[in-house]
Amino acid sequence: MNNQVEENYTGHVVVKSFNHEDESIEEFEKENTKLYKASWKAQMISGIVMPLMTFINNLGYVLVAIYGGIQVANGNVSLGNIQAFLQYMNQFSQPISQLANLTNTIQATVASAERVFEILDEPEMENDTVDVPDVETDNKVTLDHVKFGYEHKPILLEDYNLDVKPGQMIAIVGPTGAGKTTIINLLERFYDVKGGSIKLDGKDIRNMTREQVRSHYAMVLQDTWLFTGSIYDNLKYSREDATKDEIIEAAKAAHVDNFVRQLPKGYDTVLNEEASNISQGQRQLITIARAFVADPEILILDEATSSVDTRTELHIQHAMERLLKNRTSFVVAHRLSTIQNADKIIVMNHGSIVETGNHDELMAKNGFYADLYNSQFAGNVAL
C-alpha cells in the first residue's frame, strides 16, 4: 500500500503524461479495499477482548456471589471478606491479560535487541600488517601487481601496476557506472587489496594505520556531503588545527568567501540537512574549500558537477584547477582538458581497468579510449 502510494506520487509526471491515472486508481482501490477488510477485522478482534474478559469475569463474580452469599448467610465467611474477594476477582484477570501482552512486547524487544547486537557482532576492520618490505623509490604512489574484487563478486583488477610520481595527475575515465570509485576505495584504504601491494612513499599502506594513510589525502566527491553545522565548522572539518586565517584563505581560493559573506550569518550559517539555504553548486564549492583547508599531498577529485548554473560551474572548475596545482592527484575526469593534460589515464569499463597510458599513447592504441574519445565529436558539425 505504502509502496504503491509512494510510487505513484514519485512518478506523478509519468503517470499523468501517459494518461495513466485511471489504471493507477483502479489498482489502488483494490489494495485499499484489501487493507480495509483486513484492518477492520483486526481492529474488531482486538477490541472485543476486553468485553469478553469482563464477561468471563462477571460469570465468576456471579458464581462467587451466589456461593459466598450462602456462606455468609450460614456465617462461614464474613461479608467484608466477600467484598474483598469480589474485588480480588476484578484484580486477578488483569494480570493475565497484562502478562499475555507482555510476552509479545518482550519478544518483540528481544528481537529488536538481537538486531542491534547483530551490528555489534559484525566483523571489524583488521589491523594486520603484511610482510611487504619498504622500498626506496621516488614514486609517490605505487600499485604493485594489485589484485582486487569486491566480496563475492568477480575479480576486477588482476596484476595491475601503476607508478605515480610526485606532482603527477592521474585521470580516471570511463562510461557511467564503470566503477571509477574502485580506485578511490583502494587508495583511501576503504577496501584492502586481495593481492599485490599498494605503496605510499614506498611503504605498503597496510603497514600503516588507516588514519596515517588518509592523512596524506583529501577528497572532493560528487556527493557533496556536509554535516549539519556552521559553514566554518564544515571547513575546519578537514584539519582541526587550521587557523581562522587559513580557513578564510581557503574559502577565498574556492570562491566560497564571496557568497558566504552575503549570507546573513556569514560563516556561522548553519547548513541544514537538505541544505535549502545554499545551492547545490555552493555546497560543491564548500567541499572544495574543505579540501583546500586540508592542504593534502595527494588529492582525489571527482570532477562531475551536479546540475549548477554556468557561473557557479565556472567557479567550480576554476577552484578545482587551483586545488590541483602542484599536487599529486587522482581525478575522476569528465573534462577533456583534464584528460588530455593528465600524465596517465586509467580507462575503466564494466568495473575493471581496460587501458592505462597517456592521451597520445591511448589514441595511438586505437582501443576503447580512442573510441570513447572520438564518439564525442562524431556526427557533429565541426565545432
Binding site: 468485553p51 464477561f55 554535516f227 577533456l336
Partner: protein, 573 residues
C-alpha cells in the same frame, strides 16, 4: 475532524455504534445494582433463592453487555476503517489528478505521509471516539445518576476527589507535554546525526573525523537521554496519583458509609454498589481527559489532509475541448511565463514554429528556463500571455487527456514502476507488440542490456527502477516514451546521463526511425554535440530566447552560443 469525516463516514454505522454503546453502558451500570441487591436482599437475609435468581439476571445482563460491546466494536471499526478507506481513496484520486502546479506545492514524501500515516491517525482517533469517548460521558451521566440514587448525600465525596484528580492530572500534563515536544526535537537531532554518519562515512573517514562524529553523537545522545529521563520521571507520577485518588475515594466511601449505615439511612449493599459507581465515574473523567491528548494529535493530521483537498489548480478545465489534429506540429507565439508569485518572468518572448519531421533543440545554462519551456508543452503550466499550440491547436483549448495522448515526454529524472520491463513499456501503449517494444529498446540503446537479462522483457523492475543503473533507467524511460504513438516527443535533458557514444548512437537511431522521423522531436541538452544536428536550436539565457537557428547560423552570429561553444571547446582542444 468533523469536516473531513462528513460525507465520508457511514452515518448509520456511527449511529448504530452509539446505540450499541448506550445499551452497553446501561447494562454495565445495572450490574452493580444487582450485586448490591444480592448483598442487601440475599446475603444479609440468607435468601439463597434470591441470590440465585439475581445471579442469573446478572449473567444475562453481562451477556447483553458483551453482545452490545460486540455490536459497538463491529460498527465502530467498520465506520472508522471505512472512513480511512474513503479518505485514502479521495486523497489518492485528488493527488493523482493534481496538475503540475498543484503538485509542486508539496513534497512527494509529504503527500505520501498524508495519504498513509495521517489517515491512520484519523482512523485511530475515530475509533477511540466511537468507543471510549462516547462511552465516557454516557457512563459518567449514568454512573452519577445511579450513585445519586443509591445515596445522594454520599455523592458529595466526588466534589473533593474529582477536582483533585483533574488538578493533579492537569498539572502532570502541563509539565510533561512541553517536554514531550522537546523530546521529539531531540529524537530528530539524534536521528540526523546518526544518519549523517551513514551517508558521509567516506568523507568522515577520509578526513579522519571519527572522533568528532562520536562526540557529536554523544552530545545528542546525552541530551536526548537527559530529556527522556525528565519526561518519564514526571509521567511516573501519573499512575500512583490516579490509583491513590481512587483508593482514597473508596476509603472515604467506607468511612461515610459506615455512618450512614449506623443511622440506618443506607443499606450495606448499596455501599458496595456505590464504590463500583465511584470507580466508573473517576474512570470516565480519566478517559475524557485523554480527549485533550488525542484530539490535538489528530487535528494536525486533519489540517494536513484538508490542505490537500483545498488545493486548487490554476489550470482551467476546458469545458468543450477542441478536437486535436493529427498532423505533428509545435509552435510558441510570443509566449511569456512567470511562476506563481514571482516578480520576474521565467520565460520571455518565445517564438518558434516546428513542423512534422523536425527536431528542436534547446540549450542554455542551468536555470535558464529549459525545463520550464518544456513544461509548457504538455500544459503542466499555462503561459501568461501568448499561445502554445500543438498540432495547430492552442493547448488551452484542449483537454489534458488529449494533450498527453499526443505528447510523449521523458522527464529529466527517469522513473520506472514496479513490475516487469514489459509492464513499463506498455505504459503508453497497452496493445504494443513485443516487436514494437524491442524496436523502441533498440532505438533507446537499451536492447543490449535488456537482452542480457535472464528474463528479458519479463525481468523484474523494482520500485523506482532501483535495480538498474542511472544510465539504464534513463534509456528504459526513453524506450517507454518511444513505444507510445505521439506527435511530439520531448526529451528533457535525457541524454546527459549517457556517455558521448551512447548519446550519439541514440540520436542517430532517432533520426532514422520511421515513426519518430514523422513527428516533432524536442531535445533539451547541455552539450553542443547533443544539439548541433537539430533543425532549429533555441538558445536560452536567463529565461530569454537569445538565439534561434541552426548550429551553423548560431555559431556564426550568436554571442551566447559562441560562448557555450567556447567553454566546451576549451575542454576539447
Amino acid at each position: 475532524m468533523f469536516k473531513i469525516a462528513r460525507g465520508r463516514i457511514n452515518v448509520w454505522q456511527v449511529l448504530a455504534a452509539i446505540i450499541f454503546m448506550i445499551f452497553q453502558v446501561i447494562a454495565t451500570l445495572y450490574i452493580p445494582n444487582l450485586t448490591s441487591d444480592i448483598v442487601n436482599k440475599g446475603v444479609i437475609t440468607g435468601d439463597t433463592d434470591f441470590i440465585v435468581s439475581a445471579g442469573i439476571k446478572m449473567i444475562v445482563v453481562s451477556f447483553i453487555t458483551v453482545i452490545a460491546a460486540f455490536g459497538n466494536v463491529l460498527m465502530a471499526s467498520q465506520a472508522s476503517q471505512g472512513l480511512g478507506r474513503k479518505l485514502r481513496s479521495d486523497l489518492f484520486k485528488k493527488i493523482l489528478y493534481f496538475t503540475h502546479d498543484e503538485f509542486d506545492k508539496f513534497e512527494t514524501s509529504s503527500l505520501t505521509t498524508r495519504t498513509t500515516n495521517d489517515v491512520v491517525q484519523i482512523q485511530n482517533v475515530m475509533i477511540m471516539m466511537l468507543r471510549m469517548m462516547i462511552m465516557a460521558p454516557i457512563m459518567l451521566i449514568g454512573a452519577s445518576f445511579m450513585a445519586y440514587q443509591k445515596n445522594a448525600e454520599m455523592t458529595k465525596i466526588f466534589l473533593i476527589s474529582i477536582p483533585i484528580l483533574l488538578v493533579l492530572v492537569g498539572a502532570v500534563m502541563f509539565f510533561a507535554v512541553p517536554l514531550f515536544k522537546a523530546m521529539q526535537k531531540k529524537t530528530d537531532c539524534l536521528n540526523l546525526v546518526f544518519r549523517e554518519g551513514l551517508t558521509g562515512v567516506r568523507v568522515i573517514r577520509a578526513f579522519r573525523q571519527d572522533k568528532f562524529e562520536q562526540d557529536r553523537f554523544n552530545d545528542a545522545n546525552q541530551d536526548y537521554t537527559n530529556n527522556a529521563v525528565k519526561v518519564f520521571s514526571i509521567v511516573a507520577l501519573m499512575f500512583p496519583i490516579v490509583t491513590l485518588i481512587m483508593s482514597g475515594t473508596n476509603v472515604g466511601i467506607t468511612w461515610l458509609g459506615a455512618h450512614y449505615i449506623a443511622n440506618q439511612s443506607m443499606e450495606i449493599g448499596n455501599m458496595i454498589a456505590f464504590m463500583t459507581y465511584a470507580m466508573q465515574i473517576l474512570m470516565s473523567f480519566m478517559i475524557l481527559s485523554m480527549v485533550f491528548v488525542f484530539v490535538p494529535r489528530a487535528s494536525a493530521s486533519t489540517a494536513r489532509i484538508q490542505e490537500v483537498f483545498e488545493t486548487k489548480s490554476k489550470i482551467d478545465v476546458v469545458a468543450k475541448p477542441a478536437k486535436l489534429k493529427n498532423e505533428p506540429a509545435l509552435s510558441f507565439n510570443d509566449v511569456n511565463f512567470r511562476y506563481a508569485g514571482a516578480e520576474k518572468l521565467a520565460l520571455a518572448n518565445l517564438n518558434f514554429n516546428m513542423t512534422k519531421g523536425q527536431t528542436l533543440a534547446i540549450i542554455g545554462g542551468t536555470g535558464s528556463g529549459k525545463s520550464t519551456l518544456i513544461n509548457l508543452i504538455p500544459r503542466f503550466y499555462d503561459a501568461e500571455t501568448g499561445v502554445v499550440s500543438i498540432n495547430g491547436t492552442d493547448v488551452k483549448a484542449l483537454s489534458t487527456e488529449d494533450i498527453n495522448s499526443k505528447v510523449s515526454m521523458v522527464p529529466q529524472k527517469a522513473y520506472l514502476f514496479r513490475g516487469t520491463i514489459r509492464d513499463n513499456m506498455l505504459y503508453g501503449k497497452p496493445d504494443a507488440t513485443d516487436d514494437e517494444i524491442w524496436h523502441a529498446l533498440e532505438v533507446a540503446q537499451a536492447a543490449d542490456f535488456v537482452s542480457e537479462l535472464d528474463d528479458k522483457l519479463d525481468s523484474e523492475v523494482e520500485q523506482g527502477g532501483e535495480n538498474f543503473s542511472g544510465g539504464q533507467k534513463q534509456r528504459l524511460a526513453i524506450a517507454r516514451a518511444l513505444v507510445k504513438d505521439a506527435s511530439i516527443y520531448v526529451f528533457d535533458d535525457s541524454f546527459s546521463a549517457l556517455d558521448f557514444k551512447t548519446d550519439l548512437n541514440l540520436r542517430t537511431a532517432l533520426r532514422n526511425d520511421e515513426k519518430i522521423s514523422q513527428s516533432v522531436v524536442v531535445i533539451v541538452g547541455q552539450r553542443i554535440s547533443t544539439v548541433a544536428d537539430a533543425d532549429q536550436i533555441v538558445v536560452l539565457d536567463d529565461g530569454k530566447m537569445v538565439g534561434l537557428g541552426t548550429h551553423a547560423e548560431l555559431k556564426a552570429n550568436n554571442k551566447t552560443y559562441q560562448e557555450i561553444i567556447e567553454s566546451q571547446l576549451k575542454e576539447g582542444k
